[in-house]
């Protein structure tokens, strides 16, 4: 690491570093090629990330007959005939039992998130700011707990829940998911709180802000996105692991054929709310984390 820290006034058109800054550049063939390659890479990444969703959507709109005959993707990238029959079947055929587990997993994931955020913010802030005796050991324990293989506890959990007669209840799951969410949320928030003060608070104080102004205008606005990030992460971790979506694995299968249109209709239905959540959350994360706070 370099020792000298430049304080402003750097000429803008210094070439080479594109790690963190982007500045207007003078035209040169090399840069044009570089930019083209960069955008090409972006396009490839976006395609890899999103194309499967298009394919799922396409498959979900096929009829059972099209699926049955569709050897080697005979239906084409955009099939000539689209049908909503798979969606109708997923919603109306009660033997699939698709909607109830979905609702349950939503409830469990939300409840887990609320508990996680309350407990983890307290712990994260305390570990970052207060000089707690044995903070290192506590952090190590929280980390280690996060590495606890959840599958390793399904045996004991099963026996305990069976003993208590709670095997069909969704609430014990909240406790189970805390083992996923608490460590990562605590860790992220602690790291975040730790990184706020030295640079930002001092800078604001030097600029003449009072302590209270600094807290209100610097620390809190910066912390909200971090809490939000931790919340999203917790929700997704809890939502991710709920076994109920496994329900989708049991339908759409006949003895000879897997009806991917049914499975993919379910996949689309599950994906849409999450995709919307991410698009919404993405704006919050981006605007929060990159609003010039650390520049």
């Amino acid at each position: 690491m370099t020792s000298a820290v430049a304080d402003g006034g750097v000429p803008a058109a210094v070439a080479g570093s594109r790690v963190a800054t982007w500045r207007p550049r003078r035209f040169s063939p090399r840069k044009v090629i570089g930019e083209t390659l960069f955008y090409l890479a972006v396009v490839i990444v976006v395609l890899i990330a999103l194309f499967p969703f298009f394919w799922i959507l396409r498959t979900s709109l096929l009829s059972d007959q099209q699926i049955a005959q569709g050897v080697g993707g005979a239906n084409g990238i955009i099939p000539s005939h689209l049908s909503g029959s798979a969606y109708k079947e997923v919603f109306t055929n009660s033997s699939f039992g698709f909607l109830d587990p979905l609702l349950n997993s939503l409830i469990v994931a939300l409840a887990t998130t609320v508990v996680t955020i309350i407990v983890a913010s307290m712990a994260g802030y305390a570990l970052a700011r207060l000089h707690i005796r044995g903070a290192g050991a506590i952090l190590a324990f929280i980390l280690l707990a996060g590495f606890f293989p959840v599958l390793a506890m399904i045996g004991p959990l099963f026996l305990v829940l069976r003993y208590l007669g709670w095997l069909n209840s969704i609430w014990p799951l909240i406790i189970v998911y805390l083992v996923y969410t608490l460590p990562i949320a605590t860790w992220l928030l602690k790291n975040f709180f730790e990184q706020i003060p030295s640079e930002l608070e001092d800078a604001a104080l030097v600029d003449g802000a009072t302590r209270l102004q600094t807290l209100r205008k610097v620390v809190i606005p910066v912390a909200i996105p971090a809490v939000f990030t931790a919340a999203i992460l917790s929700f997704i971790l809890a939502w991710n692991d709920f076994a109920a979506p496994l329900a989708i694995t049991t339908f759409g299968q006949s003895q000879y054929q897997t009806f991917y249109n049914l499975i993919d209709a379910a996949v689309v239905i599950i994906s849409i709310p999450i995709a919307l959540l991410v698009l919404f959350a993405q704006r919050r994360i981006v605007s929060g984390l990159t609003a010039g706070s650390f520049r």
């Binding site: 963190a20 707990a145 590495f147 599958l151 390793a152 083992v179 989708i248 993405q282 981006v286």
Partner: protein, 282 residues
């Protein structure tokens, strides 16, 4: 303020762990409900270590873990740098990368199972354009390599964004002055990256590494859905065997023994990482 976390985590982890240790030294199989839960010493452990199925699952899991984290960290770093750059469409890129990460593993696994299906999938559709034979290649139930390739791609597609997001968050807290200083000193892109960015990213890298390694070591749902451990046993991992032992065979003694090994493995890995990335060395 820290107490609630500790109490909750102790209750969730310590209790099942103790219960597993107890079970591991006893005979406890619900399939033989009438038999007593008698003490059997190390019998469950010797049965496990003598089982070729378990030993090869261990090998597979370790190989998968190493390959996965190397690949995920490298690609994740690339994506983080890409997202960190300011350009038109950056928000869209971030959203596009975030979406796979947010999908439940069940969903991403089903999605890739569709993609790799010989009749409904895109992979064979596009491969068929190059060679007719490839237009109906089986993947998840063909052979070990193809089944693992499908699992690996599905797993990477879902999990690399997680690495990228953590690294991006790390990139964003590096003050710009440091880069300007490096530039003043005449550092080129690579020097800046290796001497400034990477060291300052150490906390973010450590978090990403730890979580990815453990996820890979415990990989279960993607395999459960895509291959069901097959063809044969060729994609069975430690977690998959554990699930089978607990839930299918209801053998809580052997399952307890397997759990303990898995926990020890996870602890060992995390211990190594926590030592390597101790805050005071960062």
């Amino acid at each position: 303020m820290v107490l609630p976390v500790i109490i909750l985590l102790l209750a969730i982890t310590a209790y099942p762990l103790v219960y597993n240790v107890w079970n591991a030294f006893h005979f406890d199989n619900l399939s033989y409900g009438g038999l007593p839960h008698k003490f059997v010493g190390w019998a469950n452990f010797t049965a496990m270590f003598d089982s070729p199925v378990w030993v090869s699952a261990l090998e597979r899991t370790l190989v998968f873990t190493v390959v996965t984290i190397v690949f995920d960290m490298v690609v994740g770093m690339g994506l983080a740098l890409m997202m960190h750059r300011q350009f038109r469409g950056r928000g869209f890129l971030r959203a596009a990368i975030l979406v796979p990460w947010a999908m439940p593993t069940v969903v991403s696994a089903m999605l890739w199972k569709t993609m790799f299906d010989p009749s409904s999938g895109f992979v064979d559709y596009i491969l068929g354009a190059f060679h007719p034979v490839w237009s109906s290649l089986a993947w998840v139930n063909a052979n070990e390599w193809r089944a693992w390739a499908a699992v690996f791609i599905a797993d990477s597609w879902k999990n690399i964004p997680f690495v990228a997001i953590l690294l991006l968050a790390g990139l964003q807290v590096i003050p710009n002055d440091v880069y300007e200083a490096a530039r003043m000193d005449g550092a080129n892109w690579w020097q800046t990256f290796t001497r400034v960015t990477l060291p300052m990213l150490k906390p973010a890298i450590s978090v990403a590494l730890i979580f990815r390694t453990l996820q890979a070591l415990l990989v279960f749902d993607v395999i459960y859905i895509m291959t069901g451990g097959g063809p044969g046993n060729s994609t069975e991992t430690l977690s998959y065997l554990l699930y089978n032992t607990f839930i299918i065979n209801t053998d809580f003694g052997l399952g307890g023994a397997m759990s303990i090994i898995l926990v020890l493995l996870a602890l060992a890995v995390s211990f190594v990482y926590v030592r390597a990335f101790r805050p005071n060395t960062a």
